[in-house]
């Protein structure tokens, strides 16, 4: 089955190289699985290039490639993978979309199957605006994840030689964390009854008022699912920056 997809020559070469690298002489079966391969050589290497010609390398060579499923496959009764049937102009393909509300890539944006994978090199666990900052040694991304990384400087995430934060940065981060914890304590106590359970009416009233009402629907649903004071307290302490602060600021309006 063929598809009218035009590939960048470099990407096409990479895909052909992936086939050669990963499977010797066999054509890979497509099993709805994405495959990422890295080949590192410090050697005298004489082998067939993806173009068919014979190539020789002396020294260091590194290749990385992704074999990504585009057309969805289904399993037959015999256990073999077969492409699903296309009806009309529609084929069941793996596509990542941002939806109507969009995101950083824009509303209704679509791209190929989206995956972000990292091989950790140094996850220092330092706090930055109450979040966790991770430094990774290698990562790869496809589809919308790759677009977002390119747009927002994903290369900054790779920092094997990143310098340690200075004491001022650590103090500032600790202050942010302490503030969030304090706000989480106050909010969870105010919204709970003496038996330790969250007061649903009080919680819903708080979430209906600004600025707490500006929280995303998903976040509100998550908060509403928490039944006890301890659950709410723990959630708000570990939540992304701003959530506990918004609830705390709304308490005056109750």
């Amino acid at each position: 089955m063929s598809h009218p997809i035009k590939l960048n020559p470099a990407i096409r070469t990479l895909l052909v190289a992936t086939t050669a690298l990963l499977s010797a002489c066999a054509t890979p079966d497509h099993s709805n699985t994405m495959i990422f391969g890295t080949s590192t050589r410090v050697a005298l290497d004489v082998s067939q290039e993806p173009t068919g010609s014979l190539g020789a390398t002396l020294g260091y060579k590194r290749q990385e490639a992704v074999w990504m499923p585009l057309l969805a496959n289904t399993k037959t009764a015999e256990g073999k993978w077969n492409p699903t049937a296309c009806t009309g102009d529609k084929c069941p393909m793996f596509v990542g979309t941002t939806g109507e509300q969009g995101g950083a890539a824009g509303a209704n944006a679509s791209d190929t199957y989206s995956v972000l994978a990292t091989f950790s090199g140094d996850m220092g666990g330092s706090a930055q605006n109450a979040g966790v900052q991770a430094k990774v040694a290698q990562y790869f991304a496809t589809g919308l994840a790759a677009r977002l990384l390119a747009q927002y400087g994903g290369a900054a995430a790779v920092g094997a030689s990143a310098s340690a934060p200075d004491s001022a940065t650590i103090r500032a981060a600790n202050s942010v964390v302490a503030t969030q914890h304090r706000q989480a304590d106050v909010v969870s106590i105010k919204l709970s009854k003496t038996d330790g359970l969250v007061d649903p009416a009080l919680r819903d009233s708080l979430l209906a008022k600004t600025p707490a009402s500006e929280l995303s629907d998903g976040e509100k649903t998550l908060i509403k699912s928490l039944k006890t004071r301890d659950e709410l307290q723990d959630h708000l302490k570990n939540a992304p920056p701003g959530i506990a602060a918004r609830l705390f600021s709304t308490l005056d309006k109750l």
């Binding site: 699985t33 080949s39 590192t40 410090v42 050697a43 004489v46 082998s47 990292t118 950790s120 994840a145």
Partner: protein, 116 residues
């Protein structure tokens, strides 16, 4: 290069045949020191348990689609559907940080993998 020659001369020949369900099939012949790390099969049904990582490291001679003499390392990761954010964690002490990071991302399609 001396190390490569010693490794090549002092060891036996082996042929490695990979029979994997996700298109990694193939055979390669090695002369020298070979380190193979095959993915562990897990009975768990979670997406993370179905992430597989294979690697082949060689110091010596490899006969594949060509000839290679020296150090070679091939690493292959296969990622199933519903695993859109994947973190491979090497150091045990980083596991907690990675869990915190994924919890903050609040993604159900994230997979945390131990990687030695």
């Amino acid at each position: 290069m001396t190390l490569v020659m010693v490794a090549t001369l002092c060891s036996a020949c082996t042929t490695l045949y990979v029979d994997a369900p996700d298109a990694l099939n193939g055979s390669r012949t090695y002369v020298g020191i070979v380190k193979v790390r095959a993915a562990e099969e897990s009975s768990q049904a979670s997406a993370a348990s179905r992430v597989r990582r294979h690697s082949y490291s060689t110091l010596g001679l490899r006969v594949d689609s060509g000839l290679s003499l020296g150090y070679l390392n091939d690493e292959v990761v296969s990622i199933p559907l519903n695993c859109h954010v994947v973190l491979f964690v090497r150091a045990p002490e980083e596991w907690g940080h990675a869990e915190t990071l994924l919890r903050q991302l609040r993604r159900e399609d994230s997979c945390l993998i131990r990687s030695n």
